[in-house]
Amino acid sequence: MNGWILAAVLVLVTGVGATLWGVAGGPLRRRATAQNLCTALACPVLLLLAQGYGRPAYVDLALVLAVLGPVGTLVFARLLADELADDPPHARGPTWTAAALGAAVVGAVAVATGPGRALVKLLVIGVLLVGGNLIASRALAGGMQEGRGD
């Protein structure tokens, strides 16, 4: 019944739905990119839901996803390095869009939370989310190994 949950539904349908479509078919590079974007978009959804339900404790889910989501993508980048090297994914546009969305959601929730310890936690989540996903997408694009990246 509030704007936060509506925003979460919007991101869920357009963003996470699109990554689902991306991961379900096509070449490996498309699927790997979609997996990375999925965690980058689901984290803001969890933040919006925590705010929408008025339960600050739910923010822990976003924290765990912000920490482990990029780690999961690094797992794929590391163990599929040979397959991805032949055909590296380049998804600069979607990656930066997802990063901007994550930053915007963290900012909006931070403004609604106000100063305090919860704000520090939110900012940590924001830094981990945006930084982690940018690094992970770079690792997917061939930046995992020395000398192979840009």
Partner: protein, 93 residues
């Protein structure tokens, strides 16, 4: 409104789970499985079960892909060796 979120999350889980079954190659399947894990975590959150969602995120986002891909790597290496060893074998993993 809350029902809308639940319906959307349920639909996404249904689509992701179907895709995970439909994909045959284990490497690609592990990518779909990672996405399915995240969508499931959202569904659990929407159903007000954050403890379960947290378990799903902890296990599904990095641990399961790592275990799957390590297994695939080992099996592929053995399969390649078996192929090299015998011309008439045809029993790859």
């Amino acid at each position: 409104m809350t029902e809308t979120v639940i319906v959307v999350a349920l639909l996404l889980v249904a689509v992701a789970a179907t895709a995970a079954v439909a994909v045959r190659d284990p490497v690609r399947q592990s990518l779909v499985l990672a996405v399915l894990g995240v969508v499931l975590a959202v569904l659990f959150t929407v159903l007000q079960a954050p403890d379960v969602g947290l378990s799903q995120l902890a296990v599904g986002s990095a641990l399961t892909p790592l275990l799957l891909l390590l297994t695939v790597r080992k099996a592929k290496r053995r399969g390649r060796r078996a192929e090299r060893g015998r011309s008439a074998g045809g029993d790859g993993p």
